[in-house]
Symmetry: C2
C-alpha cells in the first residue's frame, strides 16, 4: 500500500505528454512541494518548471490555488481511506500501528517531507477557509482510526498503554507528526529514536522483533 500512499512524480519527461493525465501529475508534483515547503512555500511556477508545462496549463485544471490546495487534501483523504481498508485486513493491532509508523519513515525518505497533517497544523491560520475545513476532516479520520486501533490492541493484548484510547491516540498522532518535523531539522536519527521509544512502550514483547527488522 505504500506506493499508493506516496506517489510522487518521478522526473516528469517534459517532451512527450500526449494528452496524458496532466491533472494527476500536477497533483503529485504539488503534493511533494506542499509537504516539502508548505502551501505558502510553492507556486504554480514551481510546478510548471518541474512538469515542463506553462503556468496557464495549471490554471486550466485548477482555476485558483485554493482549488488546488483543496484537491490535494481531498485526494490524500481518499488515499488514506483506501489505506485504512487495506490495513484493516491485518489482524493484530500492533502490526497495523507498525504500518502507520512505516508511513512516517517513507515521508522522511521521500525528500524529507512532513506529513500533511503537520503542514496543515503549522500553517492553519495562513490557508484558505475551504482547506481548513478539509484539514479538520482529515485529522478526524486519522484520530478515529487510531482510537479504533488502540481499542483493538488493548482487547487483543497486542498493544500496551495506560489511560483511555482517545487520549493515547492524540499522543501517538502528535508524536509522529512532531517527530518527522524534528527529524528534518535535527537529522533522521531523531525519527528513529522516536519510533524505537514508541515501539518499546507500545509493543511490549513484540518490540524486539520490530527493532531487529529496522
Amino acid at each position: 500500500m505504500l506506493p499508493a500512499m506516496l506517489k510522487s512524480i518521478t522526473s516528469a519527461d517534459a517532451t512527450r505528454r500526449r494528452g496524458r493525465d496532466t491533472r494527476e501529475e500536477i497533483l503529485s508534483c504539488a503534493e511533494a512541494l506542499w509537504q516539502g515547503r508548505g502551501y505558502n512555500g510553492f507556486s504554480y511556477h514551481h510546478i510548471a518548471i518541474q512538469l515542463g508545462i506553462r503556468n496557464a496549463a495549471i490554471h486550466y485544471h485548477f482555476p485558483s490555488k485554493e482549488n488546488l490546495g483543496v484537491a490535494l487534501i481531498q485526494r490524500y483523504r481518499a488515499r488514506f481511506a483506501e489505506w485504512f481498508v487495506e490495513v484493516r485486513k491485518i489482524e493484530l493491532a500492533w502490526q497495523r500501528l507498525h504500518r502507520y509508523f512505516d508511513l512516517y519513515l517513507d515521508y522522511l525518505n521521500a525528500e524529507c517531507r512532513v506529513c500533511p497533517s503537520g503542514i496543515l497544523g503549522a500553517e492553519f491560520q495562513a490557508i484558505p477557509e475551504e482547506m481548513r475545513a478539509e484539514a479538520k476532516l482529515l485529522m478526524g479520520e486519522i484520530y478515529d482510526w487510531l482510537i479504533e486501533t488502540l481499542n483493538l490492541g488493548r482487547q487483543q493484548g497486542s498493544l500496551k498503554f495506560i489511560g483511555n484510547a482517545e487520549d493515547k491516540a492524540v499522543e501517538i498522532g502528535a508524536s509522529l507528526q512532531g517527530g518527522l518535523q524534528i527529524a528534518r531539522v535535527a537529522g533522521a536519527e531523531r525519527l528513529h529514536q522516536l519510533l524505537a521509544q514508541m515501539s518499546l512502550e507500545l509493543f511490549g514483547e513484540n518490540a524486539a522483533a520490530v527493532a531487529q527488522a529496522a
Copy 2:
C-alpha cells in the same frame, strides 16, 4: 517566567511612539505573526499595519527579512536560556517538566500559536540558510534540556519512563510540538488530552495533583 517566554505586543498605540524601542516591538509583533502564520505567511506590511509605522521603518531595523527571521530565533533562544536557568531552581524534575507543559498551554491560549520549533520544522525547506542553522541550535538546546531533566527525574524517582533518556526526550518534544498543531485544527481539547496522557505516564502518583490543578 511565562511573561518573559511569551511577550506579545498588545495593541501597539500608533499615536505616540516617542523614540521608543521600535526594534523590540517589531520583533514581538513579528514573533506572533511567525508563530501564527509561518515565516512565509507574514510580510513587512503586516507588521507595519499593526505597529502603525511604514514598511521602510522596519527595513531600517532589519535590512532583509532573513535578518528579521534570524533575529527572531536568536531572541527566542536567549529567552529560552533564561527560562532554563530559572527552571533549574526547581528541585523536582517532574515539576520542571510540568513547567514546560505550561508553555504549550500558553501558546495555545495566545491566539493559538504553534511553537517556534514546530513552525521551523514544518517550513524548514522554505526558509533561508541562516535560519536553518539557528533552528538546529534551538532544537539542540531543547533536546539537551529534556535529556537532563529526564535523567534527573529518573535519579530522583520523580519521573517514570522506560528506555533511555535520549529517546524519551525526542518523544516528549515531538508530542508537544505535534499536539499544539493538532489542537489548532481539531480544537483545544486535543492538547488537554495530550497533556493528561503524558502526565499519567510520566508523573505517576503526582499525576493526580496535576489533574486537579488543571
